[in-house]
Symmetry: C2
Subunit: 280 residues, 2 copies
C-alpha cells in the first residue's frame, strides 16, 4: 500500500471521476483492511515517538493533518481509529465549529494559528480554515472578492508552515451522497447515535452539488507542491481509516526521523547512579 496513489493530480478537479470506495493497491476486503490498519500500529507509534523525541531540537519538526469532508464522511472516525493508534501525549486535536463572536472579529486564519501543533507534535484539524472557502462560499457569507483572496492567503499560510518545519497533510474524505444518506439514516435508527444527528445536516445535504463545486474549486486552487491534497476514498470506513494510516506512516517515514543522541555523558551518569549514597 502506497499513499502516493491518493494524491490529487494538479489541475481542474471533477470529484465525480474519483472512486469513493477503493484505491489501487489497498485491500478490497474489510477484515484484511482492519488487519492492515492494526498492523500499522507499532510502526506509527514508533515514528510518532521519534517525532516527539526531537521536540527540543533546533528546527524541531511537526505534522499537521487537515481533515475535510461532508457530514458523516468520518473525520471523527479517523481521529478515533487512526490517530488513536499513537500516544495521545503527542497529539493535538482541534475541532473547528462555527466561529465564535471573538473569532469573527479576526481574520479567518487567527483561530487556526492558535491551534497549530507545537514542536514534535502531530496536530489534527477536524474541519479547518477550508470551511472559510466552503460553507462560507455555499452560503455566500462573504463576498466573492474576499473568498478569492482567501485561496491565496491559505496557500501563503501553508507555505509558511512548511517553511517553519510543519509538514502539512491535507485529506479530503470523499463519500457519495448515497453513503451520506445511509449514515444519516443509521444515526436515526440507533439511540446510541442520536447525539451525533443534527437536523441542520439535512439542510446542508440539500446543497450537495454546491458543496461539491466549492470543494472542487478549493481543491484545485490550494493543491500546491508543498502542501498537496490527498483524496481519501471514504465510502468504506475501514478503507478510509487505513488510507490515512498509510498516508501518516509514509509522511513520518519521509521525514528521516532518528532517535536523538544523548546530550550527556552516558558512562558518567551511570557511575553517578551506581555509586550514590544509600537512599532510604
Amino acid at each position: 500500500m502506497r499513499s502516493d496513489v491518493l494524491r490529487l493530480p494538479p489541475g481542474p478537479v471533477d470529484l465525480t471521476t474519483f472512486d469513493a470506495a477503493s484505491a489501487a493497491g489497498f485491500p478490497e476486503d474489510k477484515d484484511q483492511g482492519k488487519e492492515a490498519l492494526a498492523g500499522l500500529g507499532a510502526e506509527l507509534a514508533e515514528l510518532q515517538e521519534q517525532l516527539f523525541a526531537q521536540r527540543g531540537a533546533d528546527h524541531a519538526r511537526s505534522v499537521l493533518l487537515v481533515l475535510q469532508g461532508m457530514d458523516t464522511s468520518g473525520k471523527g472516525g479517523v481521529l478515533k481509529h487512526t490517530v488513536g493508534l499513537v500516544d495521545p501525549q503527542g497529539v493535538r486535536i482541534t475541532a473547528f465549529k462555527a466561529p465564535t463572536d471573538e473569532e469573527k472579529k479576526h481574520d479567518f486564519l487567527w483561530r487556526i494559528k492558535k491551534a497549530l501543533p507545537g514542536p514534535g507534535k502531530i496536530g489534527a484539524f477536524d474541519r479547518s480554515h477550508y470551511e472559510d472557502v466552503l460553507i462560507v462560499r455555499v452560503h455566500e457569507w462573504a463576498d466573492a472578492d474576499e473568498i478569492e483572496r482567501r485561496y491565496g492567503a491559505i496557500n501563503d499560510f501553508e507555505a509558511d508552515l512548511v517553511e517553519s518545519d510543519v509538514k502539512v497533510v491535507k485529506c479530503f474524505l470523499h463519500i457519495t451522497a448515497d453513503t451520506q444518506k445511509e449514515r444519516l439514516l443509521a444515526r436515526l435508527d440507533d439511540p446510541e447515535k442520536y447525539w451525533k444527528f443534527n437536523p441542520g445536516d439535512i439542510d446542508e445535504r440539500s446543497r450537495w452539488a454546491q458543496y461539491r463545486e466549492a470543494y472542487q474549486i478549493a481543491l484545485e486552487r490550494t493543491n500546491t507542491e508543498v502542501a498537496p491534497w490527498y483524496l481519501i476514498p471514504s465510502d468504506r470506513k475501514w478503507l478510509r481509516n487505513l488510507a490515512i494510516g498509510v498516508l501518516l506512516r509514509d509522511t513520518l517515514r519521509g521525514m528521516g526521523l532518528r532517535w536523538p543522541e544523548a546530550d550527556f555523558d552516558i558512562d558518567e551518569q551511570r557511575r553517578r547512579l551506581e555509586t550514590e549514597a544509600p537512599i532510604a
Copy 2:
C-alpha cells in the same frame, strides 16, 4: 478488581507502609494483567463516548485525572497505555513543566485553571498544582507560610471543581527508590530512551526522603472527601496501567451516564431524508 482498595485512608500517611508492587484483588501475573487492561478497553471507550455525548447538556460532566509521582513512576506510560484506550477527541492532556516567566507572575493555580477539561471531556494532568507543594517545598522556593496557604487553596479549588461537575481523580504513582534506579539505568542502556533521560533527575533522586515527606504531607492535607487520593502501586508497569484503568472505569460507571435522548422528531427527520429531491 475494584478501585476502592486503592483509596488512601484518611489521616497521617506513611508511604513506606504501602506496597508498590501489588493490590488486593488485582492480578499478580503480567500476562493476566495486560489481558485485563485490554479487556477494559471496550467499556472504557463506551463510557467515555457517553461522557462526550452529554457535553451540550446543562451541567455537563467532565473528569480530571491528576497524575503525580517521582520521575520514572510512569505518568507518561499511563497516558499512553490507559488514557490511550479511549477516543483522543474526548481527552485533553496537559504536562506541567517548570512554570514560564508569565506563569510565575500569577498565582500557582492560574495555569492550572486554563488547562481544565471542557464539558464532556476527560482532562489528564501529567504533574499538576501539586508540584507547588512538592518540588517547591523540597527546594524551599516558597516560604513556609505560602506553602501552608496552598494546601487550603488546593482543597478549595478542587471542591469548586467538583461543585461545577468536574469529577477529580487524583493518583499518586507509588514506586520504590530501587525501581527508580533500575528505570534510570535502563534509559542509559537503550539509545531509544536517551531522550527521556535528564541528568537533573539524579539530583532530584538524591532528595528522595525529602520528596517522600513532602508527598506524605500533601497527601494527608489534600485527601478530602470530595477529591480523595488513590495510591497506585507502580513498581510494575502493567499493574499501574491496569489499576488506573479500573479506577477510570469505576469513576465513569459511578457517574450514571446514559445516551442522550433525541432533541428532534426522529420520524420527521427520517421522512425528510426518504422524500428528498434527487441529489446529483
